[in-house]
Symmetry: C2
Subunit: 211 residues, 2 copies
């Protein structure tokens, strides 16, 4: 009795297809230019059909935000696997930057558009892509501190947040304030890393691992 399964599969496939096309439209023209009518045209269905698969336009936006963030996380993970914490930090910065500058409209949608959209990303305190990504950063600063290679008096969570804000600031200024011609984003990111890394004298014994 696989009929209902097939139906459900087809339904899921259509939903997926709609999201794919929506994603393409957003990356090309930005989220503001995504309308239900144009989307319906592009997937070759009637506008009303979209409402059978998504409650409304916002639901589509939310789904896109979640995927966007998952993609970002996927880029961060290889960088986070690097052993040496300083190198790891710099690889994380590069990965974050290349995502933001490489998918400007997705980045805008996820981080610069509507507070209500990004809210969902940080709700599940442990499972969501948001906390997961942030944990990668925190962990890196814990390791840096254990090695005496960053500010010792500051909680790693806070250093991670400043790092994140710095990267976000670099990207979003490039995306929005293009009139201001500063140094290339990569150069700024290198400087950001340099400001966060430094030798802090440690109690005589070799650097401990805090975990």
């Amino acid at each position: 009795m696989g009929i209902s399964e097939r139906k459900e599969r087809q339904r899921a496939e259509l939903r997926e297809h709609i999201l794919q096309v929506a994603r393409d439209m957003v990356t090309k023209e930005g989220f503001a230019a995504l309308s239900m009518r144009k989307l319906a045209d592009a997937v070759e269905y009637a506008p009303a059909t979209l409402y059978l698969h998504f409650e409304n336009r916002d639901a589509i936006a939310r789904a896109l935000v979640v995927r966007g963030f998952q993609e970002l996380l996927a880029r961060l993970e290889p960088a986070a696997a690097v052993d040496a914490p300083v190198e790891r930090l710099s690889r994380l910065a590069q990965a974050y930057l290349s995502f933001g500058l490489g998918h400007p409209e997705t980045y805008r949608l996820v981080f610069m558009e509507d507070p209500r959209l990004s809210e969902a990303l940080f709700q599940d305190t442990h499972e969501g892509a948001g906390p997961k990504s942030f944990a990668l950063l925190v962990r890196t600063f814990e390791d840096l501190q254990a090695a005496g290679q960053t500010l010792d008096a500051t909680p790693p969570e806070r250093l991670a947040e400043v790092f994140w804000a710095g990267l976000h600031g670099i990207i979003s200024l490039k995306l929005t304030c293009s009139g201001f011609q500063g140094a290339p984003a990569e150069v700024l990111a290198r400087t950001l890393v340099a400001t966060l890394v430094r030798d802090e004298p440690k109690p005589s014994r070799p650097a401990r691992r805090s975990r």
Copy 2:
């Protein structure tokens, strides 16, 4: 023959009034909610009248952006007058932050909305509020370097840009990613300042001033 002068004055006053009301609407509901019709209603003129004073909606947006930035500059200037460069940096950070968090919708409009809007701010290489504000930051890092209190090997322009990006990142994450509950903006800004300030060994003689 002051008649034409009076007319021009009245014209300027109306233009001013329109901008004031537009500003209020933006601070209350955001720029997206500012429409020519609603604005016309609010100033008690017909929609068509607005077009006698502004070419179109974008022209109003541009005027608001310029004013917003001037207001920001006005807040930075007292902070920039502080003598001790470390204290000055921290005051600049506070001033920038209080502007951004105190006028979220204005900040959004100026720095997070449309690249074309902020473009104008950085065109006049020397006169505009954009370059003027940035110069305050650069100057501060020059003084810090002269005193051996920041990274010596990095051009002050780049440090200033990283500082700016850091503040912008802190504010814009608070404005858009409110779901992520991190440390308060003021705390993050203090950490940002701490990462940028450090003692760099200087050639034996007392700290020089580079100007």
